[in-house]
């Protein structure tokens, strides 16, 4: 009997080395619910595969079994939407609000882009500008799927995973493949992709190349700043895997991305036009070797090394003189071990330990030659328990010990209850954090081009202002100066409650409620005045806020070919201190004549740049060699400008108009290997130059692709 078991185990490993193993986790570690298998015949009919997710628990789980709900964006939907960059596909997802300014960021559950961790194959990307990681940096041509976990996930991923996590999983299927595509569209936008995979014996080697080029566009006739400038982006990604033995596998990922943005700026001042030329270069390098070893059928250990370097250089020349040159280099090196132990069908454990060394060098810091560094040691542990068949509980924590600021403890507990085969409930509560970043600690920046104001990081402010004062260069000190102290991480406590209902294979309905209470938010405050009268700012842990709302998603397969889906998010946000001020009657707004009157709480709209209602709608038709779809994205108005000058956002202020964007696409397969696709984004030609600078008007594109697959002969 034991021999037979062993035999099957070997067979399994053998099989997994060819195909399934590439998913980095053997099926032993996926908890298969026997009830699920009964659906398989229906699944086939509707062409749905049982999907697995890895981001929610750091181990591979069937989507239907995971206690922390995870959204998946599949390769197919990325392709059928004609997406080129990560931002293109994320903007069509429920509850994600894309922001502009310092690149395109993503707002999740109403929290700023700073608080969402963006990862490739589980490793974080670095290089944020003012807290925003530009989603346009990422090409999507080699993505197998994107996994999105909303709500605090710091218990597994540490800093930045406060609002949630977006994990990009690249396609590492070991077969022999050549896939290329060429797309051409409005504004002379050229996008070229080439995926090659070569698999022989124990080796799999794959390469992805993407080149994106666009002339950009200008929708602001008199703009000082660019809307979207001419750009060239190149991404090269290599993946090698080696099945060293039946129990050991080595994966090495290497990624290099390059961006060059050119911009010509014309500043008109009282009729005199000054022309400037700007150049921005971004280089992104990632190296990620991973060794996975199975000690037994129940014990797996993964050693991950990760090194990344992000380099940004931005300069501006006016008639040959460099008036501005801004440089930033961010390095991040991490060693991490994760061990997964599968005790039995009811209990499993994961634990990890890691070390991070991080450093930033910038000419916006005092000594631009010196690299500012931080070391982080961390441990995390998680257990998944199934006390009875219908209930799954996951509990975990992570402890991050930082060199530069207070340590952070992030616990999380989640539970899922399968009421029936078709109805599931889940609930979770967790704590997330975001560590103060290098900018908030070390910035030493004086904007000589715009009035000479200064921004000093929290660790610099005291020292710099004391020095300026000693040489008589300070006009006055503000009360917030005396509040300057060590910066603490920003914290969020998130509660999520939801249900998933699928009465049959054609209908899927998800509903979730969320609430995030955020404390210690870091805010920029005026701390002193230069002798010239110019302002000096620094960073303080000051604000407390909350975001809460409802998200729902419904998809219906009307026929095996025809599907409809719709998503909606309702969001409420508030700065808690502002609410207190309003309730105390200390906030005023203006009446019709422009004179002051007391503001009511009902007029308060909460945090700016957030839409109360966001919705999306998708119609799609698909058969074996043809597809077409229509996608609609809607956002209700959002506050952009404190028009009445009372320091917060209320119904009297400036709002961006509600808008709907409609995109369509259609594609056809020829001779199995060729595919042609055409599409039109923003059919309605909706333009809002002030508030949606990245939204081009109506654009058209056409894509031709060729794919050659050879199934691995094994």
């Amino acid at each position: 009997m034991k021999g037979l078991k062993y035999f099957f185990f070997v067979i399994f490993l053998f099989a997994s080395s060819t195909a399934t193993y590439a998913q980095k986790s053997p099926a032993l570690f996926t908890t298969v619910n026997p009830a699920d298998s009964s659906h398989h015949s229906h699944l086939k009919q509707y062409n749905i595969k049982e999907e697995t997710v890895v981001t929610a628990t750091r181990t591979e789980r069937k989507l239907s079994n995971v206690a922390i709900p995870t959204k998946i964006i599949t390769q197919k939907s990325i392709k059928q939407a004609g997406s080129m960059r990560l931002s293109d596909i994320l903007q069509e997802q429920s509850g994600l609000f894309l922001t502009s300014g310092f690149g395109t960021g993503v707002q999740m559950q109403g929290l700023n882009p700073d608080y969402t961790l963006i990862m490739i194959n589980g490793e974080p990307l670095v290089g944020r500008t003012s807290g925003v990681l530009d989603l346009n940096r990422l090409a999507v041509g080699n993505i197998k799927k994107i996994e999105i976990v909303k709500g605090p996930s710091s218990s597994l991923y540490g800093s930045e995973a406060m609002a949630g996590v977006i994990n990009i999983i690249t396609d590492q299927t070991p077969n022999n493949k050549l896939a290329t595509s060429l797309r051409y569209g409005t504004y002379n936008t050229k996008d070229f992709n080439c995926n090659t995979t070569f698999s022989k014996g124990k080796f799999t080697f794959s390469h992805f190349l993407n080149s994106y080029q666009s002339d950009g566009f200008s929708i602001r006739p008199y703009a000082v700043e660019r809307t979207v400038a001419p750009i060239w982006r190149l991404t090269n990604q290599f993946h090698t895997s080696y099945q060293a033995s039946a129990k050991t596998k080595i994966d090495i990922d290497l990624r290099y991305a390059y961006e060059h943005i050119q911009n010509e700026i014309a500043v008109t001042n009282n009729g005199i036009i000054t022309y400037s030329k700007g150049n921005e270069y971004h280089k992104d390098f990632n190296l990620n070797p991973v060794i996975t070893h199975l000690f037994s059928s129940k014990l797996k250990s993964t050693l991950r090394l990760y090194a990344t370097n992000y380099n940004a250089d931005q300069n501006l020349n006016t008639s040959g003189n460099s008036i501005y040159d801004d440089q930033l280099n961010h390095q991040f090196v991490r060693v991490e071990n994760q061990t997964d132990y599968y005790l039995n069908d009811k209990i499993s454990f994961n634990a990890g330990i890691g070390y991070v060394q991080e450093g930033v060098k910038s000419n916006r810091y005092e000594l631009n030659s010196a690299r500012r560094t931080n070391n982080i040691n961390y441990v995390f542990a998680q257990t998944e328990i199934k006390p009875i068949e219908k209930i799954t509980i996951i509990a975990g924590f992570r402890y991050d010990n930082n060199q530069l600021f207070a340590a952070a403890f992030s616990p999380k507990i989640a539970a899922m209850y399968k009421a029936t085969e078709h109805l599931k409930f889940n609930a979770s509560i967790g704590r997330g954090f975001k560590a103060p970043d290098f900018r908030q600690l070390y910035l030493n920046f004086t904007n000589t081009a715009a009035g000479g104001y200064s921004v000093f990081g929290a660790l610099e402010a005291q020292k710099q202002i004391d020095f300026l004062q000693s040489i008589g260069q300070i006009l006055s000190i503000e009360s917030d100066f005396y509040k300057l102290k060590e910066l603490h991480p920003e914290y969020a406590t998130g509660i999520n409650f939801g249900l998933q209902y699928n009465p049959n294979q054609q209908i899927q309905f998800d509903l979730s409620f969320f609430r995030n209470d955020v404390e210690n938010l870091i805010d920029t405050r005026l701390v002193a005045y230069h002798k010239s009268g110019a302002q000096i700012f620094s960073y303080l842990n000051l604000k407390n806020a909350y975001t809460q709302g409802v998200e729902s998603q419904m998809s219906v397969k009307i026929t095996p070919q025809f599907a409809v889906s719709a998503g909606y998010q309702y969001l409420l946000t508030a700065d808690k201190d502002q609410v207190k001020e309003i309730e105390a009657g200390r906030v005023y707004t203006i009446d019709a004549g422009g004179f002051a009157r007391r503001m009511e709480l009902s007029e308060y709209v909460g945090l700016p740049n957030r839409s109360k209602h966001m919705a999306n709608f998708k119609l799609s038709y698909e058969n074996e060699n043809y597809f077409t779809n229509l996608r609609v994205i809607y956002r209700s108005k959002w506050a952009v400008n404190d028009k009445d000058g009372n320091g917060l956002y209320n119904s009297n202020d400036g709002f961006a108009n509600a808008f709907a964007q409609i995109n369509i696409a259609a594609g056809k397969q020829f001779y199995k290997q060729f595919r042609a696709q055409i599409g039109c984004d923003n059919i309605g030609n909706y333009i809002d130059m002030a508030n949606l600078p990245n939204l081009a008007g109506r654009t058209f594109y056409t894509t031709l692709s060729y794919q050659f697959n050879q199934k691995n002969k094994k």
Binding site: T268, N269, N270, G533, R586, G594, F595, R597
Partner: protein, 217 residues
């Protein structure tokens, strides 16, 4: 000299008489703000529209928009602009240049003026606080603080717009010691702040037009 003073006194009497006649008017006052300088009074509250406060005429060597550099002097008592030549007298109560507001005392003038900023609703204010809160001008620091979010206005840098902070009542002691409350409602011509998307030419040409109301306490 004496003749001048007599003329001045006559003018003051005349202007106060003129104001009085308007106080007692029975015909409705035209409050539409069409961009012209206008003063009218209703129920002891005087409203001033489009008081020009050194509008921008050009650009400095540093590229900063500038006016002539002169203040516009205003008598709250007489509800009228005071000529520039009287700047060193006690004939004016407040003076405006760009966002800077002077009161007639200290480094600004020979009067008994002074001011402080009260946070609240104009209608709710009925008296001055104890004398100690009244400050006088000591250039470059003024009784009514200058700077964004410090005194009466907030400056929106990205959009290059000045907005009076709602709920800031300027408590002003006139040159003769009379106490006033004053509320500024707009800084632009016609009492309309340009759109954030307006050109900078529009934003610059329509600013420095004070629209405010005041009342003697």
């Amino acid at each position: 000299m004496k003749k001048n003073q007599i003329l001045m006194a006559m003018a003051m009497v005349a202007s106060s008489f003129y104001a009085c006649t308007e106080d007692n008017t029975t015909t409705p006052i035209d409050t539409t703000n069409n961009g012209t300088f206008k003063v009218y009074t209703l129920n002891d509250v005087t409203e001033v529209q489009n008081l020009i406060a050194d509008t921008i005429i050009g650009t400095s060597a540093q590229g900063q928009p500038v006016g002539t550099g002169h203040f516009t002097f205003f008598s709250l008592k007489n509800r009228a602009v005071v000529p520039l030549t009287d700047s060193a007298t006690s004939n004016w109560d407040v003076a405006f240049r760009g966002t800077t507001i002077l009161t007639n005392a200290g480094t600004s003038g020979p009067g008994m003026g002074g001011a402080y900023t009260h946070v609240g609703i104009f209608a709710d204010v009925s008296s001055f606080n104890a004398d100690s809160t009244i400050r006088t001008d000591a250039a470059p620091v003024y009784a009514i603080k200058t700077g964004s979010n410090k005194g009466w206005y907030v400056y929106d840098g990205p959009n290059n717009l000045i907005t009076p902070i709602p709920g800031r009542v300027l408590m002003i002691r006139g040159a003769d010691g009379t106490l006033y409350k004053l509320e500024i409602n707009n800084y632009y011509k016609g009492g309309v702040t340009p759109l954030t998307t307006a050109t900078s030419a529009i934003k610059l040409s329509t600013q420095r037009y004070y629209n405010f109301r005041y009342k003697a306490l």
